[in-house]
């Protein structure tokens, strides 16, 4: 019988059926960070439940760890140190792998995991973090959970899972120059809305998806949680296998050969059926930017802010008015040209080496506008080291960017560092919610190219069309 990729992964992991639409699923990898993982580890220890498979559990420091040079356990977030120390103690006591603050492998969980070969095709992987869908890009069933579910996965090696529905988005033809996976993600969000894939396993397919590199695929899958999806997934191909091979936690030797043989069957059969099947044309995608306070409130760079009537199918009149007021924009007005106060490159969406390279290509030998505070935060200590080996740090620093240690940083405001009230920020992050990057800050999400070009111009601006190389 024909199966979707999701159905193959599901069937492979069913320990037992609970009822007709729920099962106990084996969980191959559990990942944690200090914001939610410490709570789970502490609570589990208090309940007296040991971790069933500590070898297959990993913890990193990313969410509230300081990103300024010379950092230690101290963090700008009030009481943040307690989270860092509880996670460290909990991870050590449980015997799970820990990528601590000074570990060269430390990084944002969804950046670090693929780098280390923790993420491999065909696995189930969970993390108490909504952007865990990023890791579906390699053909794994990877999804975000709460702390209680993390405790459950650690204690039992399983999760009780309601079987999600399936959805496929096929994107054919090719993305144009200067149009990236982030633009594609925002394009899809602007078309189908922030609940457009609610509860579904969303498989991305088509020639434009195959043409994305591993990092672009991760960027695209990263934003699936903003569509309300259970997770996203892309069938792995030779490019992914090549990416995985030789990484520290990836299978080696005979294990590698057996794994590879297994992974080659990880695709949706040609006549497999999806609950929902949508098509997009990559040629329709242009550089995008958000105008409102939900990722679905995004538009083509240069296009006017829509009227409430134009988006009545997705935004209620109240939601539209609220977003407009908060962002201080008017229907009919283009977002391009709005003066910005801040520019941020980082986060699990767009902080990988390729992202930094593309931004640096735009910044090289230029300087950000005087009134703009610009910050670059590499996604992992490894990305940072590689970027420095290539000299990218010099390009960012010479352009007037701050160059930070790896972490989530100002992707969100945790009570410490933030942009200022009413400040307008262009950001390579994933969320433009009210006060996301600081109390009353106004965040416009966009690609790293657009962030770099806007930082230079001092206003929201399109990147020049050029080769994506230095």
């Amino acid at each position: 019988m024909s199966k979707t990729l999701f159905e193959k992964l599901w069937d492979m992991h069913v320990v037992m059926d609970i009822d007709s639409d729920a099962a106990l699923l084996a969980i191959d990898r559990v990942l944690m960070h200090e914001r939610t993982g410490g709570v789970a580890l502490e609570s589990l220890a208090l309940a007296g439940h040991p971790v069933l498979a500590p070898d297959r559990a990993f913890a990193t420091m990313d969410h509230i760890v300081d990103t300024r040079p010379g950092r230690g356990d101290a963090t700008l977030m009030p009481t943040g140190t307690a989270f860092i120390q509880a996670t460290r103690q909990g991870a050590r006591a449980a015997g799970i792998h820990l990528f601590d603050i000074t570990d060269p492998r430390q990084g944002i969980v969804h950046v670090m995991s693929p780098e280390q070969g923790i993420l491999i095709p065909g696995i189930t992987l969970v993390c108490p973090d909504s952007h865990t869908c990023t890791q579906g890009a390699f053909g794994a069933l990877a999804w975000g959970i709460g702390s209680s579910e993390a405790e459950h996965a650690l204690a039992t090696g399983t999760l009780r899972v309601q079987r999600p529905g399936t959805m496929r988005i096929t994107v054919d033809s090719q993305l144009g120059p200067n149009v990236s996976a982030k633009d594609l993600a925002l394009h899809i969000l602007s078309r189908i809305g922030s609940a457009g894939a609610r509860g579904k396993v969303l498989e991305y397919a088509g020639s434009a998806i195959s043409a994305l590199d591993a990092e672009g695929r991760m960027t695209l899958c990263n934003m699936a949680t903003e569509l309300g999806a259970f997770t996203a997934i892309i069938a792995p191909d030779q490019m992914i296998f090549d990416y995985v091979q030789g990484r520290p936690f990836a299978p080696q030797g005979a294990d590698w050969d057996a794994a590879l043989a297994s992974w080659q069957s990880l695709y949706s059969d040609p006549d497999a059926r999806f609950d929902t099947d949508l098509r997009f044309d990559a040629a329709d995608v242009v550089p995008m930017v958000s105008w409102g306070t939900s990722p679905q409130q995004s538009l083509a760079l240069g296009a006017p802010v829509p009227t409430a009537q134009a988006v009545a199918g997705r935004d209620t009149a109240e939601a539209h008015a609220r977003a407009r007021d908060y962002m201080d924009v008017t229907p009919g007005q283009p977002v391009t040209g709005l003066r910005i106060d801040g520019a941020f490159i980082g986060s699990c969406t767009n902080s990988r080496l390729s992202d930094l390279r593309r931004a640096a290509a735009i910044l090289k030998s230029r300087h950000v506008a005087d009134h703009v505070r610009a910050i670059c935060v590499p996604g992992s200590s490894q990305v940072k080291a590689q970027a420095e080996a290539e000299g990218l740090d010099r390009i960012f620093l010479d352009a007037g960017f701050e160059w930070r240690e790896a972490g989530c940083s100002m992707c969100f405001f945790a009570g410490g560092e933030s942009f200022g009230p009413q400040e307008r920020v262009i950001s390579s992050t994933n969320r433009n919610f009210e006060s996301r990057q600081g109390p009353s800050t106004r965040t416009h999400i966009a690609s790293p190219e657009t962030v770099a070009a806007s930082a230079l111009a001092g206003v929201i601006a399109a990147a020049p069309v050029r080769e994506n190389s230095l």
């Binding site: 320990v15 204690a155 009780r160 057996a258 969320r431 919610f433």
Partner: protein
């Protein structure tokens, strides 16, 4: 987890779409490494006049007369979107909320509700607006009958997956339940290690 069978209480209308978990409990309000001490941070950005203080914002629904005993929340679409932080569910539960009624929920938040004794009730927005128009007045939510009964007596049926309903009705501890199947889990793992050895050879 406290079981839920049925309850009659006031529902506070906070009808906005896309209420995210940062809004339910801002990251800065997650001060302790634990699941408690969060209720003062609930909706902090909307509930108080300024960050850091606790002076009530008069316009905010939970600060208005008649809503101090609200146990249910009425809201807009895509409730609980954004960060997976379970602190959102912990804060709502600690404040006293036992059910959220919305046209749709974010999947992770939906799961977090069930594990913390909060019933995620899905109703059409028109029905929710009618309930909201009659507030403050008690409504009845029954998980046994799977319906919401409005102040005017109108019964509105809702759906919840079987496993979720059972967990809420019985107040089950999922880890305890699953550990009853540990032999089955270990048998699966032993068999799986033969067919996918690379999963287990870290």
């Amino acid at each position: 987890m406290t079981p839920f069978t049925c309850m009659t209480a006031i529902a506070a209308p906070l009808i906005r779409d896309n209420i995210d978990t940062d809004a339910i409990i801002p990251s800065r309000e997650m001060k302790t490494v634990g699941k408690t001490g969060l209720k003062d941070g609930l909706f902090a950005g909307w509930r108080y006049l300024a960050i850091g203080n606790r002076d009530p914002m008069p316009d905010f629904i939970l600060n208005q007369p008649g809503y101090s005993d609200a146990k249910f929340l009425l809201s807009g679409a895509n409730f609980g979107c954004g960060s997976s932080r379970e602190h959102a569910a912990w804060a709502l539960a600690e404040y006293g909320f036992r059910a959220i009624v919305a046209p749709s929920f974010n999947p992770i938040f939906h799961g977090n509700c069930i594990r913390n004794g909060i019933v995620p009730v899905t109703l059409a927005i028109d029905d929710i607006m009618k309930l909201a128009d009659a507030m403050p007045a008690p409504i009845h939510i029954s998980l046994e009958e799977m319906q919401v009964v409005g102040a005017d007596g109108t019964a509105l049926p809702f759906h919840l997956p079987k496993e979720a309903r059972r967990a809420l009705l019985l107040g089950l501890d999922p880890i305890g339940q699953t550990l009853l199947e540990i032999d089955c889990i270990k048998a699966f793992l032993a068999k799986d290690a033969l067919s996918r050895p690379w999963i287990y050879s870290n």
